[in-house]
């Protein structure tokens, strides 16, 4: 039986009706992997034995008539920057190529409590710094819709796995667009929740005030189910938001009547591909036809988001990545003359070009004499960017925008010019700076490549995103299309 087109909630139905077993689902994923993974290369590490053992325990409990959590037996992929106890966690970096965490990230523990079946750990740009997976120290993941193109990044492996069918759901992390941008380029649903909704404990830190974990899924029902599983306060992350959260599946309503949707004009001009623009406008008319009010609005400081982000994120990264010194974990270079020499040798050999570039940039922006001009200035502009959104949300329930300026680009197209690569995230960065929830969903196709549209919500307004996204998917069906990959039966 072919499972790789199905969603988690559909598989759940088959499992409960005993029309299949968790082991059968798991085997079908590894059969598919045998056929397509050579072409796609979504995973850094596969855990076949662990996955099958987990699936067997789910089947045993099903046979015994025990009640199982909503995601029990569902094949999951985890981005390789989240700690998995006893399973290699590399962050796509040579410096962590042998790192086996002695503990689980909170999200991994929560998925374990759901009894999901973890297939493996997915590829990413080194330490999540990049927009294509080309900055992974190991290999570049391919876009399942066209293997000459990038899957996006940094969570490109997770997005490609869900699109290809080698996972049903996946987790990614999003610091400036690293969930939404690859979700757009691979034609799946990818949500970055509000900063603080999901615990970051055990997520290897890149830029701590911006990082947030979120789901990749094939539709909004699965998105709500994964959010339910991973969200909520965690005392091990002091920035995790306190308070009770409801059931996100309550927002899966096929109705947007009365919703007020703003379209920031700054997101529809400039370097935006004409075809992508058309798809965003088509989405706007879908929402209008379904009874929402759609109106143009403005976020006047939009052009400043990119330079603001590329000061703040590298500054935080330069501090966070100071811990890779060859002492406590990771790789160390031998034959050093003293401890400083050992630090410098280990870091220089362990980090790739993009990571070094960002450490250099961040160190400079924080250094004596430049702190006020660069870092502090960026923090102040961050306030202005945030206020833009606050003003827009006085009038609107959510904002509609493109996720990316263009479809998936060819491998090698942007690796020589860092600013060109950074521009891939031009429509996603501001959401992280403001700490808001954002989701990319399949909005249509251009030359057989998927195009994502982005919905941006108020803080802790994931419910409005789920309701609008669910209504859009019920009205269009773009999310039902699947790529066909060479080698696939």
């Amino acid at each position: 039986m072919r499972f790789n087109d199905l969603t988690a909630h559909e598989l759940r139905g088959l499992l409960l009706r005993r029309e299949t077993s968790a082991v059968e689902i798991c085997r079908s994923v590894f059969d598919l992997l045998a056929a397509v993974e050579g072409e796609i290369q979504a995973y850094i590490t596969l855990d076949r034995a662990g996955a099958l053992a987990k699936a067997e325990t789910v089947d045993r409990d099903l046979r015994d008539g025990r009640e199982l959590p909503p995601l029990a037996g569902i094949p999951f992929a985890i981005k390789d920057n989240m700690c998995t106890k006893g399973v290699l966690t590399t962050c796509g970096s040579r410096i962590l190529r042998n790192f086996v965490p002695p503990y689980n990230a909170t999200v991994v523990e929560r998925l374990n409590a759901q009894r999901v079946v973890m297939i493996g750990k997915t590829n990413l740009d080194e330490f999540a710094m990049g927009s294509s997976t080309e900055h992974s120290s190991f290999f570049t993941t391919r876009n399942p819709w066209d293997t000459a193109r990038v899957p996006g990044g940094s969570s490109g492996g997770s997005a490609a796995a869900v699109a290809a069918g080698s996972a049903v759901c996946a987790l990614g992390s999003d610091t400036g667009g690293s969930i939404r941008q690859p979700a757009a380029l691979c034609g799946v649903v990818g949500m970055k929740p509000t900063y603080g909704l999901v615990s970051r404990y055990g997520l290897v830190a890149f830029a701590s005030s911006l990082d947030q974990i979120g789901p990749f899924t094939r539709d909004f029902t699965d998105c709500a189910l994964v959010l339910n599983a991973i969200c909520g306060h965690d005392e091990r992350d002091s920035t995790s938001a306190p308070g009770e959260l409801g059931d996100f599946t309550d927002f899966l309503v096929d109705d947007v009547r009365g919703m007020r949707i703003g379209m920031p004009q700054e997101y529809l001009s400039g370097g935006l591909d004409e075809g992508v623009r058309r798809i965003v406008l088509e989405a706007a008319s879908v929402f209008e036809q379904r009874g929402a009010y759609v109106e143009e609005t403005s976020l006047p400081h939009t052009d400043y988001a990119l330079p603001t982000y590329y000061l703040i994120a590298p500054a935080e990264a330069s501090s966070n990545l100071a811990r890779y010194d060859g002492v406590r974990y990771g790789c160390r270079l031998e034959n050093s003359t003293d401890v400083i020499d050992m630090f410098r040798l280990s870091r220089s050999r362990g980090f790739g070009a993009e990571v070094k570039r960002r450490i250099m940039l961040g160190t400079y922006a924080l250094s004596a004499g430049y702190y006020d001009a660069y870092y502090l200035k960026a923090l102040k502009v961050r306030t202005l960017i945030r206020r833009d959104f606050e003003e827009a949300f006085e009038k609107f329930d959510l904002l509609l925008a493109p996720t990316t300026p263009e479809p998936a680009f060819p491998i090698g197209d942007k690796t020589e010019d860092p600013i060109k690569m950074y521009l891939s995230d031009i429509y996603t960065l501001a959401v992280n700076l403001a700490g808001l929830p954002g989701v990319s969903l399949p909005g249509g196709f251009l030359n057989r490549l998927p195009i994502g549209i982005q919905l941006i919500g108020k803080p802790f307004g994931e419910g409005a995103l789920l309701r609008a996204g669910y209504t859009f998917q019920q009205s269009t069906g773009h999310h039902l299309k699947r790529p066909r990959i060479r080698g696939e039966a």
Binding site: P101, G326, V327, D338, M360, L361, T363, L379, L433
Partner: protein, 93 residues
């Protein structure tokens, strides 16, 4: 415009070694990125408070009691060199 000696100084602060080719490349690229960042100077921010963090949280404390924790040997198990339960490093002085 960043100079090569500034790049060398930043590399020391960042505990990196750069070869000549990297020094040249980063001098050019960082200059370009920093020039781009100067766009922010168009904005008057004299009365704007900085945002380091979006959440209205301050001083999150927990009870000062020992909770579950990793055994020491597991906690240091990933270190490249150990001795008697300690991290081992090359000479410091």
């Amino acid at each position: 415009m960043l100079t090569k000696s500034q790049v060398e100084h930043v590399a020391l602060l960042a505990r990196l070694y750069l070869d000549d080719e990297e020094k040249e490349r980063y001098t050019t690229q960082l200059t370009k990125i920093l020039e781009y960042a100067r766009n922010l100077d168009e904005l008057n921010t004299s009365d704007v408070p900085p945002t380091a963090h979006v959440l209205p949280l301050q001083n999150v404390f927990r009870q000062d009691v020992v909770g579950p924790h990793l055994p020491a040997e597991e906690a240091i198990g990933n270190s490249p060199e150990q001795e008697d339960g300690f991290f081992k490093v090359p000479r410091v002085l």
